[in-house]
């Protein structure tokens, strides 16, 4: 196998292929990246039985072949190569990489033992790349990072006629958003897929600059899979098994008690006031017609207080919120103003959740349907 390839294109392709590989694998062969000559160019693949990544790039192929080489090592080498064409030559289990005056010799791994990558067929369609990336970043923040309940470590994708909804929760908050979906298969039945949040976030970042992303889901079979592809790149992931909790019903139908604030001001004030808080402690938010007062009763040594402008509709309200959970929601609305709505509850031991939505001006709701529902803490005094 012999080929020559542009340094930047090669480095980018290798880094894409290895990005989703696990940090430690018990099967060393899966830490490799497979490089094949194909259609006058190169095809790079990685696969660890859960996630696969594949891309094709242009190259001057002098001799056809296939080789398997340690992915992370190759990615590190590729990213540090000088600015010159990269030459690959294989010789009996050894791979010679030459670039300018730099030379590397790498060991190859047995290609025969490498598993073949999954091919996903099923319900398919497409979404806008940038829109998808934004929606993933807004929603995935609410996914659980705790392994206690594996189903909520994923982002639930629900595909309807013309919309793709993304939902995530860690039981303390729920984030949900839908984006337009272009159906491309014969069936229009609703289908859902639970994708690991970490993988989906990486996919969002990788494909965010693509015009459109094609999505295919195969469910109901032995292995349930989802595939995302854009331009010459494809990522597949196993779906998480299990039923996602029915969190949509937690959202209130109507709210008549809410406040609108400037998003940036509220983020700044929350960060400032929470400086004196102990870890895991909550901030007290008092909404009155005169504005919103944030109070932190930190330790015995320090307290803090700040008031920001707020436009309140309905009665005065006091809630106690964990600053980080609030900041996650405020940072995800992507609008100049933000609306915090208060829901009623009959349970005296559990305050009603607050709903965070975007607002383009004081009295104009935002353009997207992003909703972030957060459970306040009990008021302690």
């Amino acid at each position: 196998m012999r080929f020559q390839v542009n340094r930047d294109i090669f480095s980018e392709a290798v880094s894409f292929a290895v990005k989703l590989l696990p940090q430690r694998t018990t099967l060393p062969i899966l830490s490799g990246v497979l490089i094949e000559t194909a259609d006058g160019g190169l095809r790079l693949s990685s696969f660890d039985y859960e996630v696969s990544a594949q891309t094709t790039i242009e190259a001057e192929v002098e001799e056809e072949g296939v080789v398997l080489v340690s992915g992370r090592l190759l990615a590190e080498i590729a990213s540090r190569l000088p600015n010159a064409p990269v030459r690959f030559t294989t010789d009996e289990g050894k791979i010679a990489v030459a670039c300018g005056s730099a030379h590397f010799t790498l060991l190859s791994m047995p290609v025969e033992e490498y598993p073949s990558l999954p091919h996903v067929t099923g319900r398919s369609g497409s979404v806008g790349g940038e829109e998808f990336a934004t929606a993933v970043s807004q929603v995935a923040v609410a996914a659980s990072r705790d392994d206690v309940t594996p189903v909520i470590t994923g982002v639930q994708l629900e595909i309807g006629d013309d919309a793709l909804s993304l939902i995530a929760t860690d039981r303390y908050r729920v984030a949900i958003r839908s984006i337009p979906w272009q159906n491309e298969s014969d069936s229009a039945d609703p289908v859902s897929a639970l994708v690991p949040a970490r993988t989906l976030s990486e996919i969002g970042k990788t494909f965010g600059h693509s015009g459109t992303i094609s999505v295919a889901i195969s469910t109901g079979e032995d292995r349930e899979l989802i595939a995302f592809s854009a331009e010459t790149r494809t990522v597949t992931s196993l779906l998480i098994k299990g039923n996602f909790p029915p969190v949509r019903r937690l959202f209130p139908d109507t709210v008549d008690n809410y406040a609108v604030m400037n998003t940036g001001e509220l983020i700044e004030a929350t960060r400032r006031v929470s400086l004196v808080l102990e870890r895991e402690a909550a901030l007290r938010f008092t909404f009155t017609p005169d504005g919103l007062t944030l109070e932190a009763i930190g330790s015995e040594q320090a307290q803090a207080q700040e008031t920001v402008d707020a436009f309140l509709t309905g009665p005065e309200t006091v809630v106690s919120l964990k600053p980080q959970f609030l900041l996650d929601g405020l940072s995800a609305v992507h609008s100049e103003f933000v609306r915090i709505s208060f829901t009623k509850t009959d349970n005296p031991n559990k305050p009603g959740p607050v709903l965070i939505t975007s607002q383009s001006s004081k009295d104009q709701p935002g353009t997207d349907d992003y909703r972030y529902l957060l459970q306040p803490n009990l008021l302690l005094r």
Binding site: D146, D147, T169, R171, R173, V174, L250, Q375
Partner: protein
Amino acid sequence: MHSGPGAEPRSVKPPSVPRTEWVTPGRESALAWEIVRLVIARCSVDYAGRLSAHLPLATRLILLKADGSVLVHSDSLSYKPLNWMSPPCTLSRMEPDPEQAEAGVTEIWRVSHAKTADMLVVSIHEILHDSSHELGVDPGLRKDGVEADLQRLLAEQIELLGEGYQLVRREHMTAIGPVDILARDPNGASVAVEIKRRGEIDGVEQLTRYLELMNRDPLLAPVSGVFAAQEIRPQARTLAEDRGIRCVVLDYDAMRGLDDSSRLF
């Protein structure tokens, strides 16, 4: 050593009462004791045998256990004794020779191991405290409270492993010890569950040994494994999953029914 019926555990007896027979001066003989004796003394200690060690003169706690072992503790350096002799061993008391007496030694205890030539020599300068206690029969080491509770709760809520799981029994006995829970999956196949508070590599190894043994039993095989813990270390998880053992993280508070009011659901 077993205390008979009516024996009072933890009763304190004056130092003169122990059934320890001290040798008459000038002679040495083996001693046996059936109670725990605590001595605080200014002493120096020498160990001779497979390794040599010397502890200079200082005040120390000398523990003479009913099983025959002798342990020398200081008030620091964590839980380990500074020096010790494990059973079987014999303790003999000797009078100091004139040179030692000159240096302030009042008596010498020599602890000899019965099977090796190892010897622990305690040179006593002054005894500050000496008491003996009969501890009675020990109930044995009990499983940590949380771990036992987790086992009980998981047995009651076996569906946490998945829909359709059924409990067979807790503490299923194997030749090398009890498996925490034996259950059946929805297809009726056996599942062995090992429960830990913190899931570490040694817990995975333990479950692996059980699984290997249980899979030899034609009535149980095939047996799959579940490693359940409140928290599972990444290395332990990797090892378990590589061996086909499923990892389940347990939420102790939720299992106990403690409601977290800061949760939505």
